[in-house]
Symmetry: C2
Subunit: 536 residues, 2 copies
């Protein structure tokens, strides 16, 4: 049986491509600008990449790093690298050269593939990555070869297009290492396994209702939790990937229209940008669009604004350590008759575990007992299941801490509602303790989002002589508006317990991560300079 050596009964997402390349041989797999690639071609290119890596001596267990935006080589890497049993290290392109050098070295990567726009991240640190044996230049934006090593297409040409066997002999074999942004200390390498990538790859599609005829736009970076496993899941269905080099609202809306995009994933901050752009340009969508959002708790106002555009929002929640989203705010038909604000408020909750995830709870920080289902008592979100990481690469102590008591600890504080839906109140380290009372920064932000002049907001604790900590709001206003700090504070006092209202407000841009998360730690660092805050 010719195919027997290619096939494998173990759960591995690489097998999805083997099947889809037959079922949808001549269907468009990947769109990138004017380029179109069929599933047959995609599979051939993946086999070329895999065999080229083997020829360079890359073996099972070896690490291969990619520094690359959402373009075809990044999709190819998600299949070719694990196909030969190697481990993909997709690195955040917004990090500094020294952070990237740390990740390449810590992960023991033997090869690094670099999009030539980002070669400057490698050039200055080449002497800090001695384990790297070869570099490959991905020339998406032009022919320049800034680094020593072959150009990507020339590298592919050294390989063969014929099907290679999938070298997986254990479902828990490592498939990728994703480094967390590391708001404190060095980034940690989160190890994913084939079984989790298979199950979460399909699990995302079950929750998002994608199908073979879906068109998926790559707004979410693939270097972030392997794009929530969508490189694998979208391929499993035989749907179409639409690449996106730069995540800008004009380009997003252009591609939605041109490529008839049906689904995309994006952090709430991207939704804020899309919503503002659509307002400004008076954009009306002429067909249904589905957006999965996660990465930060979206304010109900953000959800309501998107749904006004006719977009259906699937709100999910997760972390790098659980392969991306782990819970979904499962829509209930009984909510359909409710007013839009109420619907958005319900949908802004982080919800219930995925069908494939199953295990999730909110527990008391000391006793690990589940908190009462009262929507009031805070505890920590803990998770278990097939989509939980193996651990942190070469960091047994951090792994031990993360799995204390046998559950993965998210570091997120939440309440459990009577209907079993979880709602995040804050990150453990973000929550404000003011005069002994907890103040959820998310709750304060959700109120400020309702102020008509506010485009984006972040609330943090600042030191206070009397109360220990008090809230401060950082606000980006909508163009053409000019609210005062007093306006914002008064609005909060009208809509919140008075002690939760910020004591001060600062206006301006907010610092963000590559995936659009507001970096509250940067705001805090400034406010707490020279002082010691409590440690969680």
């Amino acid at each position: 049986m010719q195919d027997a050596r290619v096939y494998n009964d173990l759960l591995t997402p690489v097998g999805f491509l083997v099947r889809t390349a037959k079922v949808f041989e001549d269907k468009v797999a990947i769109v990138h600008g004017e380029k179109r690639c069929t599933y047959k071609e995609f599979y051939e290119r993946v086999n070329r990449l895999a065999s080229a890596l083997k020829k360079k001596g890359v073996q099972k267990g070896d690490k291969v790093a990619f520094i690359c935006p959402n373009i075809p080589p990044m999709l190819e890497a998600h299949f070719a690298v694990p196909m030969i049993g190697a481990v993909l290290v997709a690195i955040n392109i917004r990090l500094s050269a020294s952070e990237i050098a740390y990740i390449i070295d810590h992960s023991d990567s033997r090869a690094v593939f670099v999009d030539n726009e980002f070669a400057d991240l490698i050039t200055p640190v080449r002497d800090q990555i001695p384990k790297v044996e070869f570099l490959v230049n991905i020339c998406d934006t032009g022919p320049a070869l800034p680094l020593p090593g072959l150009e990507y297409e020339a590298f592919l040409a050294t390989g063969e297009p014929d099907p290679l066997p999938i070298e997986v002999d254990d479902e828990h074999q490592v498939i990728s290492i994703n480094y967390t942004s590391g708001t404190t200390g060095r980034p940690k390498g989160v190890m994913y396994h084939h079984r989790g990538a298979y199950l979460n790859g399909l699990g995302e599609q079950l929750e998002f209702h994608t199908r073979a005829d879906s068109v998926y736009l790559w707004t979410l970076p693939m270097f972030h939790c392997n794009g929530w496993c969508f490189p694998w899941g979208i391929t499993a269905l035989g749907a179409t990937h639409v690449c996106l080099r730069k995540v800008m609202p004009d380009e997003i809306f252009r591609l939605i229209e041109k490529e008839k995009v049906t689904h995309l994933c994006a952090a709430p901050t991207i939704l804020i940008g899309m919503s503002a752009y659509a307002d400004e340009k008076q954009i009306k969508l002429d067909r249904p669009l589905n957006i999965m959002t996660a990465g930060a708790p979206p304010a109900p106002t953000i959800i309501a604004n998107m749904e006004k555009l006719g977009i259906n929002i699937t709100h999910t929640y997760g972390l790098t350590e659980v392969f991306g989203p782990h819970s979904v705010c499962q829509w209930q038909t009984k909510w359909e008759g409710l007013p839009p604000e109420e619907r958005a408020r319900l949908k802004a909750r982080q919800g219930v575990p995925y069908i494939i995830a199953q295990h999730m709870d909110v527990v008391n920080l000391e006793t690990m007992e589940p908190v009462p289902r009262d929507g009031q008592t805070m505890g920590e979100i803990v998770m278990r299941g097939n989509n939980v990481m193996l651990g942190y690469y070469k960091d047994p102590e951090a792994t031990r801490q993360a799995f204390a008591g046998g559950w993965f600890h998210s570091g997120d504080l939440a309440v459990m509602h009577p209907d079993h839906y979880i709602q995040i109140m804050d990150r453990k380290k973000d929550i404000i303790i003011s005069g002994g009372e907890n103040i959820s920064t998310v709750e304060v932000e959700n109120v400020i989002y309702r102020h008509p002049d506010v485009m984006e907001v972040a609330v943090i604790p600042i030191p206070d002589e009397k109360w220990g900590e008090v809230p401060k709001a950082f606000v980006k206003v909508k163009p053409g508006t000019n609210p005062t700090a007093e306006d914002i504070i008064r609005f909060c006092k009208e809509n919140l317990a008075r002690f939760k209202a910020p004591k001060s407000v600062e206006f301006g841009e907010l610092p963000k991560t590559a995936t659009g998360k507001v970096q509250k730690f940067k705001l805090r660092e400034k406010e707490w300079a020279g002082r010691q805050r409590r440690v969680n």
Copy 2:
């Protein structure tokens, strides 16, 4: 952690109910006539059944038999029995008392649950099932207790509603044994495992596009391949099960209308009945309906007739040994512009392996090499994957034969088309060898289905002095028509190679299995009485 003992990271479909009972606590899980049961109640009843079984001494590995139509206890059994590590034996209610006694005894069932309409199947054979320790009467149609033993609700009352742990410690632990109809020899017990039931349960939903807001009508018997794993898959989504005691077209259409059914599964013969009924009653559906059909190759005419009613057909193919459907005739958007007959012809093919199945091929009977992708060369369909049985219970020799060469042998002859789609030509034992030429009975039937007077047809080989075998057609005509044998034969000669046309035609009802498969072996037995046919 209170829930930790309930949860399990192993793949088992029982966990689906644990999750759904929380997420959709007050949503309708099961509709049965005027009765409604929420997911919370469903889970409580399952726990009651499981703990009642434990109290009676039923332990891990023990077999529990059910003789029951598609009513709530049958759904409850699919979770309660495997929850305690026991094995469900759901028995075909259309078998004879002696066949049922054989299955109960061969499966080593310790308990038998019997719907009181079917008590007559047990009463005469009670002395042939000495291993059975207790009986339970399911009183769906009335209070009569025809068998010694408790009534089902009284039995449930002996159990507790509190969550029980799922007693699975190996994903390949047996979850159920399904006896094949056994057209030759004794029925064989096909062993399913938890892993396959989990994956196929979800896999069916991925292919059929069911969602939480779907309403699923139970036309397909749950005793047939555990209802193609839909008891588990529909529950995983939190969709609604609509029970159906008797599969009659009037009742099907009444429930489609009343309960707003969105999805159902049925063998082609049920589609024939539905289509004739809809014609007669001039039924128009006022919302989309999706039907998955498998169990026999549907003629293109049957598909076209259903699609004329506005019904979307998903055509799948499988066998008891692979947990029900294993392949799907995946729809391609490029087919959309084709004429309806051409679309139906493409859709009548058995297609490509499921996303979760992956492995399927057509191989030469001797060499096991894949046949050419020419749509002409016949070979046997072979399968591998996580949805393939463990083997036949207590029958290592039959298991060895079925897995010769490391693949499961379907016994179905098919061709592989250039687009990688499989098309069944015949069962190995049904194909006609006439003067050395193969004649596919399916091909001849597909032509006869196009004759305007034909409602249903089966073609079989009959002995012939000159040719060895020749085709004979058994035809059920549409009401009010009266074609002659010559009409049918002439129609075939006009639309087929002449040697493939039947030499004789007989009119009347066709013998069928419980799931609506025509029992060709019964027709053959009559025609071949006293003669020896070739053995495959």
